[in-house]
Symmetry: C2
Subunit: 252 residues, 2 copies
């Protein structure tokens, strides 16, 4: 199978490079960002274009890893109707392709990708959907070369998984940024929190997160909660966040 | 050095058992919860009492690992004035002991403790404070047998570290619980998120959390954000949380 990769952002970058490593032929990198397209093309030994009109014919798979708000436009710009067309969005239906191409689906890797950080694909869940069996089979084959965790899901499941991922990953990371800033105020390094953060994650690998909950809110330690709210008085948004998280923990 | 451990909750449990493993003599477990006190006493090979009036004399260290809102009362109940008295709270000053005993301080391990989960103390930061040099030295010696990460901090730093820990650990864990519930609605297991959660943490070991931020808020993907808010319409509190976290990420 040979693949045209459309998009050279974080997801496109990691997918193209891991597919190339898995010995798939990357036929072309398509991206409107010339610099990213060129560099990713070099990395996966493929030509690149910034022009959707120049997209190559007869690839087996057209893999769209582009921002959600650009996906419909980019699909409409692709003159090629053959092959399997799939996108990597957690929130959009496969039906964006309906009526435009014959074989289409979803290839959604559930992970947080940053270009600066290498990643092991082996345990990353890849969620698949397709509009027919042969397409599903082909996407399965593609996924199986990257990961051992392949799931056929429906749209509702994928949306909820994406939403859950935003809470579990994006929002957690933002909490780490908040913690970093709180420590900076007293000249302490963020690294001090790493053993705590690692243990928090280790615990939810063994216990249900509900059972792993600790801290002032879980203990209903009113004095500590009031004290923390007073420390946050200088930052009303963080104070509101603290209050809501405390309420949520107490209701959980 | 021999130690009287006051409190048999999560923190007291792990401290007493690791101190015993590090070959310190636990002279006595003091806890108002008979069952916990008995079991912890058995574990560390020490007698127990539920009565502060029966606390043993002449221990080197009296270690208070009790809820913040009970600490002042329990200190007042301790008839013993000799030895070093220290507490494990992240939020309360060492001066709770002032005027009551001669040598006192803080022994605060920065970690999330659950009785169901064993823990490696070696990398856990232990924060120390003391009212004089000899007490600080003794607490240092105690800490050095448990961990290689010992810090002398002041009250302001300890408070901020505790506040940061609540964001980074307690609130993150609550986000994991939210994610778990979101997945349950579509019959998907929480474990699917573990590779994502692990990678989120691995990333902040290498990059600053600010640089590691991904997701719809960081990309300002308005459609996805609106879509997620609509999925959360059934749960106004989570919707508010989503909105605030999105604002915070966009301001970070």
């Amino acid at each position: 199978m040979n693949i045209v990769c459309i998009g050279s952002g974080n997801v496109g970058w990691h997918l193209a490079s891991h597919l190339a490593e898995a010995d798939f032929t990357i036929r072309q990198i398509v991206s409107r960002t010339t610099d990213h397209a060129r560099r990713l093309g070099q990395l996966v030994n493929a030509p690149f274009t910034t022009n959707m009109a120049e997209i190559v014919n007869n690839a087996d798979i057209y893999l769209y890893a582009v921002p959600d708000d650009q996906l419909a436009t980019i699909i409409a710009q692709n003159p090629v109707k053959t092959g399997i067309h799939c996108h990597t969005s957690g929130s959009l239906p496969k039906e964006l392709f309906a009526g435009k191409v014959e074989n289409y689906g979803i290839f959604y890797p559930l992970q947080t990708f940053s270009k600066q950080k290498q990643i092991d694909f082996q345990n990353i869940p890849i969620l698949l959907e397709a509009n027919n069996k042969s397409t599903l089979k082909a996407l399965h084959k593609l996924a199986a070369h990257l990961s051992s965790q392949i799931l056929e899901t429906n749209f509702e499941q994928r949306q909820q998984l994406h939403l859950a991922a935003v809470f579990a990953c994006n929002f957690s990371n933002s909490l780490f940024t908040i913690a970093d800033k709180i420590l900076k105020e007293v000249n302490l390094p963020f690294d001090l929190l790493l053993p705590l953060i690692r243990e928090t994650v280790e615990k939810v690998s063994l216990l249900k997160p509900e059972a792993a909950q600790t801290g002032p809110a879980a203990r209903n330690d009113i004095n500590v909660i009031a004290h923390h709210l007073s420390l946050l008085e200088v930052n009303p948004r963080l104070q509101t966040l603290y209050r809501i998280m405390t309420e949520i923990i107490q209701a959980q």
